[in-house]
Structures are given as C-alpha cells and as structure tokens.
Symmetry: C2
Subunit: 332 residues, 2 copies
C-alpha cells in the first residue's frame, strides 16, 4: 500500500466537517483503502466474490452432522441464486463465481460455476496427507486463476463451502500456530460430545503429520482442504495485484493466515468482515492483529460475513469523497 496516500487521506479526514476521529473505524477504512487502491479517492463499487467448494475425506471420522452431499447441493443453490451468499451478492450488485475444486460427486455444467474438480474431495488427514503435492499446487493455482477472472474489481471476497471444513481449518490453524486442537468448535452444529470427537481426530492428525507441519505449504497439503488452498492462492494473487481483500470468517481467516505465512506481505491487503461465532476465530484474528468490522454472531461461511460488511466500506469511501471540508463549508 502507498503509505504517502494513507497519510494524505488521514490529513484530509481531519479537515472534514466533523470532530476529528468521530467516524471511528470508517476513517481508518477509507485511508487504508486509498493506500491499497493507490488512488486519492477510494471506491468499492465493483465487488467480486469467489466461492470455493470441495469435500473432505476426514468426514469418514464422523466429525460433521451434515452429509457430504450437501457440499454439491449447495453449489447448485449458489448457482440458482437462493443460497445466502447469492442473495447478498445480488443485494450488493457484486459478481459471484463458484469454483468447484472437488465435490465428492461430479456436477453438471451450472451457471456461474467453474468446474475445476481436482479430486473426489481430499483424503482423510487422520490416516495420511489430505492432498498430494500436485493437487495442492493445482488448487493454489485455481485460486490465482479465480482472482484473475475477477478482473479489475475494487474489492475481492473469498468464500467457501465444504462439509467438514471447520475440522480442516481448525487442524491447519492449529498447525500454523503450533497448537493442538484448541481452535476446534461446533462448526455447523456439533454438540459437546461431537466437538470432543472432532478434537480427538484433529489431535491424531496433527500428531501423525508431526514435524512436516512446520512448513505452511506442507501443513496446507496435509491437513488443509482443496477450497482452503483455493482461497489461499486467491488471497496471494489479490495482494500481488495490489487489490484489497475482505476476509470472511473462521475458514477464510485460516486461509488468510496460510497466505500470510507463505508471503507476509499479504497481510497489508486484508480487511476482516466480521468476528465469527465459531470460537476459534478469536485466536486467529488476534494472531493477525485483526478485528472484524461486524460482530453479529454469524457462523455460516460462504463469504456471508464479508459480504455483510461491504456497505461499511462503501459508506467509508462515500463519506471520504463527498463530505465538505471546514474550509469548503466556510467554517474557517
């Protein structure tokens, strides 16, 4: 980001007809967006949402109460326009593309869905690596491609869908932070016994892959997921293209952390849409020195927590661009 533009934006914000700082975090948002976009007048008109979908072999361990067929079923609903993220994309006038990186079952050609199926879901991380080297590389590349297809957007959002992916995200986050299974939570709705089972599976997987997990790329390959790798690749590509990114909740934040571990410069391009109700999200945000814009108890994924925050970015930009200065208002 252009730090000179950020400083200039902060100076301009102090000349607008309001007490200094009285727009709170909207002021920092406007200044950061100006610096990221490299233009004196930031804007968030063109928003693109890429939703990555894939299944998870660790579902064999009964870590989710929801059948894996729901992953492909939800891809159909994203395409049909009646799933939550599709409703929000329409409300925002945002572009929405779904990238199928590996549902268990193949899907027919569907509007707004890119068939990039690399596998029938991942392998079970408890008994071996979730992906082989070629597959994780291909998933990262599909993420980069998805960002490139987003074109010249003002803001990029990555969403995800994959039954079992809070287990993969908790394992990957635990690996990156040198923890055990502490990040595991109820996900879609496990009860306390289910969370205990999930934690045991994650601890076994982390133990099995042991020292290999010191490498973020190996951690992603061994305990991550296809859609998490897609998000990671997209976030890195966005940062390299100097595009601001609005990160969603627990799973997207694990992908963002993976991207930052692979390329620390990525951090400067990230905003965080919300603080998820999934308990492990708090620790992840702390690690990234990040704060969600919203805290509404959401825990749906798909990119919905980021999409819900888009109007705040738009309002921050509009205030920055359209408010009078004290001088213009004759208040000198």
């Amino acid at each position: 980001p252009d730090t000179a533009l950020a400083a200039r934006a902060r100076r301009r914000l102090d000349t607008l007809i309001k007490p200094p700082g009285s727009l709170g975090r909207l002021e920092a948002l406007a200044a950061t967006l100006a610096a990221q976009q490299g233009r004196p007048e930031p804007q968030v008109e063109r928003v693109h949402i890429s939703v990555f979908a894939a299944d998870h072999g660790v579902c064999a361990e009964a870590i989710s109460s929801v059948p894996q067929a729901v992953t492909a079923g939800m891809v159909r609903r994203f395409s049909a326009g009646d799933a939550a993220i599709a409703v929000l994309a329409r409300q925002l006038g945002a572009g929405l593309e779904v990238i199928n990186l590996g549902t268990l079952e193949p899907l027919p050609a569907l509007p707004a869905v890119v068939d990039a199926r690399l596998a029938r879901g991942t392998a079970n991380m408890r008994t071996g690596p979730a992906m082989d080297r070629e597959t994780v590389a291909a998933a990262l590349e599909e993420g980069r491609r998805a960002f490139r297809r987003a074109g010249d957007c003002d803001l990029f959002i990555g969403g995800e869908m994959g039954i079992g992916n809070t287990t993969a995200a908790a394992a990957l986050g635990g690996a990156l932070l040198g923890l055990g299974s502490e990040l595991a939570g109820p996900g879609t709705g496990l009860d306390a016994a289910g969370v205990e089972r999930k934690r045991a599976v994650i601890d076994q997987a982390l133990h099995r892959h042991g020292p290999h997990l010191a490498s973020p790329l190996e951690a992603l390959r061994r305990v991550g997921g296809l859609e998490i790798a897609g998000l990671t690749g997209a976030f890195i590509a966005a940062a390299q293209a100097r595009s601001p990114v609005l990160v969603d909740g627990f799973i997207a934040t694990v992908a963002a952390l993976t991207a930052v571990r692979l390329n620390p410069g990525v951090r400067d391009w990230l905003h965080f849409g919300h603080h998820s109700a999934e308990p492990g999200h708090t620790r992840l945000l702390q690690t990234l020195a990040a704060e969600g814009l919203l805290d509404l108890g959401m825990r749906l994924g798909e990119g919905t927590g980021a999409a819900a925050a888009v109007p705040l970015l738009r309002m921050a930009c509009a205030l920055y661009r359209e408010m009078a200065t004290f001088q213009e208002a004759g208040f000198t």
Copy 2:
C-alpha cells in the same frame, strides 16, 4: 408487534438452507421487523431520516469547545448535502429532512429544512429550566409532525445536531436513571479538565431541579433540549404508528429512553444502530436491554450511527425473503 408473525418468521428462518441460527443477529432482526411491520415479508426499502437541530443555553458554562454558530452552520451543510448524514442518506437512497427547532440565529429558507424554530436555543439549565411548558410541548409535537411527514416509510431514523447537546443528554439521562453526572463524556472532544467542568455543571443543574426530575416530562423540560424533545416526540409517534425505529447514538438513545419512560410500549419498536464511543452510551443501552448492531467507535451523531446500520437490516430482510428452504432445495 405481532408476536404470531415473529414466531412464524423464526420458524421459517429455521427452514432456510443454512445451519439454524448461523446468520446470528440478522435472523432476530428479520423476525422482529416482520412482527413490527405486521407483514410476512419484512422490507426496509423506504428509509426516512429526520434530523432535529437546536442550540443550548448551557453553552454559557463553557461545556463545549465548539462555538454555537456551528449548529446553524451544520444545518446549512445538511441542506447542501455535504455533511456526513447527507452523504449516508444519499448512499442509502433514504429521505432526509432537517427540522430546525431552535438555532441561536435564524436561518433563511433552505432546501430540505423545515423552519420550526421555537426559541433561540434553550435557556441555561444550570440557572433555570431549559424550556417552559409550552415550548417542550411544542417541540414534542414538532417531532410527531416530522414523523407524520415521513409518510409510509419502512424504517424511521432520528438524528440530531446541537452544540452542547451531550451535556443536556447526559443530564437528562442522569435524571431518568437517578444518577448524577456519570453519563458525561468528552462529547465533541473535551479534554479531562473539560469533562470535569461539564460534570460539575450537570451536577449543579441536577441539584437545582431536584425532585422535579422524577417526572420524565419535567426532566426533559428542565435539563433536556429542543432537539431531544423533537426526537422523543418522533419516536413516540413512530411507535404509535407501528413503525420500526433505528436509534442512533448517545443523544438519540437518551431521547429513546425518555420516550420509553413516557410510554413503555415504545421499547418494542426500537432497534439500535450502534454502540457509540461516547462512554455513557453503554449504560443507556444496558438500561434499555439493547445492543447496538455496529461497534465502530463512531461518535458523530446526526443519525450517522443508525444510517450505517441500515444495510444490515436490508440484508436481513433480503435473506429472509429470498433464501430457499431445505424443502424447496430438495434437501429433504
């Protein structure tokens, strides 16, 4: 509100293609709006913002670092469209009307400004009542009229502008809660010594008016303000018309509390846009068993903290209306 409609809405929310409760507070918002609007499909398309402006005699006590002329100056900017609330109203496609209930100096006719000047600001609450009985009654009535002019809106927002009005609001809130000056804070930007002075003035005013403050109407008259009375009247009128209200920050919440004390049924029609950075707001929200939707460190007033939350209400309604049910999606 129609509790049967709320219950029906909650049941529908649990049939939508998402884990139950995973949209967090957006779910309760949709159900509450359905119940308030008395229709099965809530919507927040037509939003009206009434900004009440007036000056404060207590400024003679040097409780603000900003000259009183800024109140009228800001009314001009609201009309010109380059103050924060005007920018946000435009961004939202919301109607905006300013009601001048008593700037110190008269203003010429201005677009979108209703000249309803009842006085040259209030009198100094430290040395006597801020308003006489006729004036507070007239200000309440102007609030009711402003709501009626808003017409058939889906959501009503009340904003305010008045140099010195955090002092009046802190005094009125203190009177309603049986406190002293604990609700006083920096407002537009007082330093610690300024806040001490403000607290001393409030304590003196509360002491002077003593037992009269047990009546909420008398408290409003003696230590409130013209624009606070306007907001109070508008909130009562909105509730009586069964219209949802989105309350802004510290001053608007004191007006909402006054309205609730005058008519407890008002509470059921209120949403709270944000948690202000003005410290006393926390106690006020607790008293009303309310939680702001946003918590972004804003402290500008004008209605901006409510306006910033409008897209969340719109998204809650869109999700409620447009998401598929499990049955429609063939997930049964």
